[in-house]
Structure formats: structure tokens, C-alpha cells
């Protein structure tokens, strides 16, 4: 029995609530591997549905913007990607916290798998944003607060990736990355509130104002659909990456060997 797993055990025995029992099961790599394998096809289906309806709504049904014409349609990629860039960071930080506190291996792997995906979303937000910026502001890039903050988010992700690849012992590396990810959380509110704090070129909150979104409903619905599609896509790539990481780390274990034999046989 692994010493860390036995630690989780003793926590579970002290207060055997539902949460901790679920937690304990989540900690089992085999269980995760099997469940995620069953879940993946359904997620792919859901993703396809959301993507197709979202794109159709966004590119075909939604009316052209009265100011921006058709170029506004890039919003359907830009905004979901920008949202995801922050959301993924939160997922990474939370699983980092779990990994640090409960020494849960699976949380470590989830955290590590988040970083490249998050960096990808951030990159997409940056590229689509600057594509959009050229017609809107007349420049590919301006040193506006939100844009800069998003760029810094990219650097945070790159820092996580860099640190993880620099430390060879992967268990140590994940612990280091968890600490870094937690410390980096301070930047998330800064990205979100940057627009209010500096009131610069970038669009203020248009969708995320709860009382009354200042966006037309026909534009809003496809946007939400696309946001859903991005979330599901994130879930899919996270599962895939985590499964990979899992196999790599558990390589010497019996169950991985069996798996390989089944595949071969």
C-alpha cells in the first residue's frame, strides 16, 4: 500500500462522509481510468451538438452588429476562449490545492494536464482578440490593461509548464507546480477587473453583468452555446491528457501492464 494512499485512508476513517468516500474512490487510478474511458464518447457527442448549434446560431442566425458588421462574429471564439483561459486556471489551482493538502496523485495529474490546455485557450483568446483588434482599434495590439493581463496569464501558464518540465522527479515537480499555481491565483481577479480599474479600450462586461446583459438575445444564445462547447472540449482534452499522464506514471504497476497485454492480445 502506498504511504500517501494510506494517509488518505486515515482521513476517510475519521469522518466517513459522502464527500471523503467519493474522494477516496477518485484517488484510485484504476477507477478513474475506467470511468473516464466510459465517459469520453458521451462527451464527444455533447461537444459536437453544442459546437454545431452554436456555430450555426453565431454565423448564420445572429444578426450583424449595427456598428461592427460581420467582423463581430469572432466573438463566438474569442469570448469563450477568454473565459476558458481563466476558468482552466481556477481548475488547475483548485486541483493543486487538493494535491497539496490530501496528497492525491490524481489531483496532481489533473493539475499538470490543465496547464497546456489553459495556455492553448489563452493563446486563442490573444490571437482572436488581436485579429479583432485590427478592424476595431486599428492596431493588432495595444498595451491595454486587459490585453496585457491576458498576456501575463499566458506567462503564468508557461511558467507552470516550464517548472514542471525542469524538475525531473515528477512527484516533486507536481508539488512545486501546485504551489506556484496557488500563488498565481492573485492574477485572476486582476484580469477580470482590469477593465473597470483602468477603463481602457477593451470592452467592459457585456455578458457577465447579471442584472441586464447589454447584448442582443439572438447574439447571446449562440455565445452561451459556444461557451458550453468550449467547456466540454476542455473536459475532453483534460480527461485525455490526464489518462496519458496516469499511464506514464503508473507504468511499472500491474494494472497498466495488464492493460497493455489486453491491447496487444
Amino acid at each position: 500500500m502506498n504511504s500517501n494512499a494510506s494517509h488518505v485512508n486515515s482521513v476517510a476513517m475519521k469522518n466517513p462522509g459522502f464527500f471523503t468516500r467519493w474522494f477516496h474512490r477518485m484517488a484510485s487510478p484504476v477507477w478513474f481510468y475506467q470511468i473516464s474511458g466510459k465517459l469520453l464518447p458521451w462527451l464527444w457527442v455533447l461537444f459536437a451538438v453544442l459546437l454545431v448549434t452554436g456555430l450555426y446560431g453565431g454565423l448564420v442566425t445572429a444578426p450583424a452588429d449595427y456598428q461592427q458588421g460581420d467582423s463581430f462574429r469572432i466573438i463566438y471564439v474569442h469570448v469563450p476562449a477568454a473565459w476558458m483561459s481563466m476558468f482552466v486556471y481556477m481548475v488547475m489551482a483548485v486541483s493543486g490545492a487538493i494535491a497539496l493538502i490530501w496528497r492525491m496523485k490524481l489531483a496532481e495529474m489533473v493539475m499538470v494536464s490543465c496547464a497546456p490546455i489553459g495556455a492553448g485557450f489563452t493563446f486563442i483568446a490573444l490571437v482572436t482578440g488581436s485579429l479583432w483588434g485590427k478592424p476595431m482599434w486599428g492596431a493588432w495590439w495595444v498595451w491595454d490593461a486587459r490585453l496585457t493581463a491576458e498576456l501575463i496569464l499566458l506567462f503564468l501558464y508557461l511558467g507552470v509548464i516550464g517548472l514542471y518540465s525542469a524538475i525531473e522527479d515528477k512527484r516533486m515537480a507536481s508539488r512545486a507546480v501546485a504551489i506556484l499555481a496557488l500563488v498565481g491565483i492573485v492574477n485572476i481577479p486582476i484580469i477580470h477587473y482590469s477593465v473597470e480599474w483602468w477603463n481602457t479600450l477593451h470592452q467592459g462586461a457585456t455578458v457577465t453583468k447579471f442584472d441586464k446583459p447589454s447584448i442582443h438575445i439572438d447574439m447571446l444564445i449562440p455565445l452561451l452555446l459556444m461557451a458550453g462547447a468550449f467547456k466540454v472540449f476542455f473536459a475532453i482534452s483534460l480527461l485525455l491528457r490526464t489518462r496519458n499522464e496516469l499511464l506514464e506514471r503508473e507504468l511499472p504497476r500491474q494494472w497498466v501492464k495488464q492493460l497493455v497485454e489486453e491491447k496487444d492480445g
Partner: protein, 225 residues
């Protein structure tokens, strides 16, 4: 009581070591002034322009000086094995670490504060603005030291970490930079800067309370490789 003694011993030890190597005190200072001087050289001597960009330059220079100085923080302790001894010591690690960071700040940042008025005058800032500049540096530089220490603790076991450290730490320095230089800017246009100062103070409190835990955890990780 014993803990307080241990805290003071570590503090005193680190300051002593730094005074032995006088470099350690003069170098951040010189670096700070050199970087500040590079800009007039790189940008040209227009006084109006220099005055506009002075707050930004002061803060960027302070930040880079903090970054370069941070690299010393645990490296020599790691290499000569005293870090292992610190981690295994029965004294509470996060406290010992706080003492080390404090010593580092005293040695590397305080001289820099003393130099700031001089540099600020040379950029043509006026007295009240210089006061604000000092205040922001006083509140901000300890944050830089503590946050930098986290980065160093994470990378100390790696052979060539200077650049990786910069990558890890600079994004975390950004909020301090923004509020710090923004406060000076605002002060220069004669507006009140309470808001920014409160924010910097809040960051300081946060850094002093939470960073030592992160540093201790990171050091334990680094030592076990």
C-alpha cells in the same frame, strides 16, 4: 522564547554574511541606478519625456533589482547543505524562512529606498511625488522579496534557474508594479493615492502571512530531490 532567539539568530546570521560580502549591499544599489541610467541613454535626453516615464522606470528597475538579488536567497544554502539542516531543524521552518527573507530585504532593498530620492530628483519629480514614490517602494519591495523567495525556493534545486526564476516571478510582480507606478503617476498629477497605497498594504499583509508557508513547502520539496 527559544523560537524568538532562533529567529533573531538567523536574521543576524544572514545580515552578517551580507555585510561580510559588501557586494551584496552595494550591488543591488548599483544595478538599480545603472538600469535607471540606461533609459536616458537608450531613449534620449528629452526632460519632458523622461519625467513622464520616470515612475515606470523607477519601478521596473526596482523590480529587476529585486529579481536579481532574490537569486542569492537560498542558493548558497542549498549548495553548501545548510538548507538540509534548516529543513531538518526542530525550529519551525516558516519562521526561519521569514527571518531569512527579512534579512534579505533589509540588505538588498533598504539601501535602494535610500537612493530613490536622488534618482527621482534627477528625473525631475517634485517633493510630494518623491514621498509617494518612497512610500510605494517601502510597501512594495517587501512583497517583491517574499514573492521572489517563493520562486527561488521552487527553483533552487535546478542548476540553471536564473531565467526560469524570472519567468515564474515576474508575472507575480506585475500587480505590485502596476499599483506602485500608478500611485506615483497619480501623485504627480496632484491626485490622492490612498486607494493604491491601501492595496499595496493589503498585498504586503497577504505576502507576509501566506508566503512563508509557500516558501517552506517549496523548500521541503526542493531539498528532497
Amino acid at each position: 522564547m527559544h523560537i524568538a532567539k532562533a529567529f533573531l539568530s538567523v536574521l543576524k546570521r544572514d545580515v552578517t554574511v551580507a555585510f561580510r560580502h559588501r557586494n551584496e549591499i552595494f550591488n543591488p544599489l548599483l544595478f538599480f541606478s545603472l538600469v535607471t541610467l540606461l533609459f536616458p541613454l537608450g531613449i534620449g535626453p528629452s526632460p519632458k519625456l523622461l519625467q513622464t516615464i520616470a515612475p515606470g522606470i523607477l519601478w521596473v528597475a526596482a523590480l529587476l533589482a529585486a529579481l536579481l538579488a532574490a537569486d542569492n536567497l537560498f542558493r548558497s544554502d542549498y549548495e553548501d547543505g545548510t538548507l538540509e539542516q534548516l529543513v531538518l531543524s526542530p525550529q519551525p521552518l516558516s519562521l526561519m524562512v521569514t527571518a531569512k527573507v527579512l534579512a534579505h530585504w533589509l540588505v538588498s532593498a533598504v539601501p535602494l529606498l535610500l537612493l530613490t530620492p536622488l534618482l527621482a530628483v534627477s528625473f525631475g519629480l517634485d517633493a510630494p511625488t518623491i514621498g509617494v514614490a518612497l512610500l510605494t517602494l517601502l510597501l512594495g519591495t517587501p512583497v517583491l522579496s517574499f514573492v521572489g523567495a517563493i520562486g527561488v525556493a521552487l527553483t533552487v534545486s535546478l542548476k540553471r534557474s536564473g531565467m526560469l526564476l524570472a519567468l515564474l516571478v515576474l508575472p507575480l510582480y506585475v500587480p505590485v508594479l502596476i499599483f506602485g507606478s500608478n500611485a506615483i503617476d497619480t501623485a504627480a498629477s496632484g491626485l490622492p493615492v490612498n486607494g493604491q497605497l491601501y492595496l499595496l498594504a493589503a498585498m504586503l499583509v497577504l505576502a507576509v502571512t501566506l508566503a512563508p508557508l509557500a516558501i517552506a513547502a517549496a523548500l521541503k520539496m526542493s531539498v528532497s530531490q
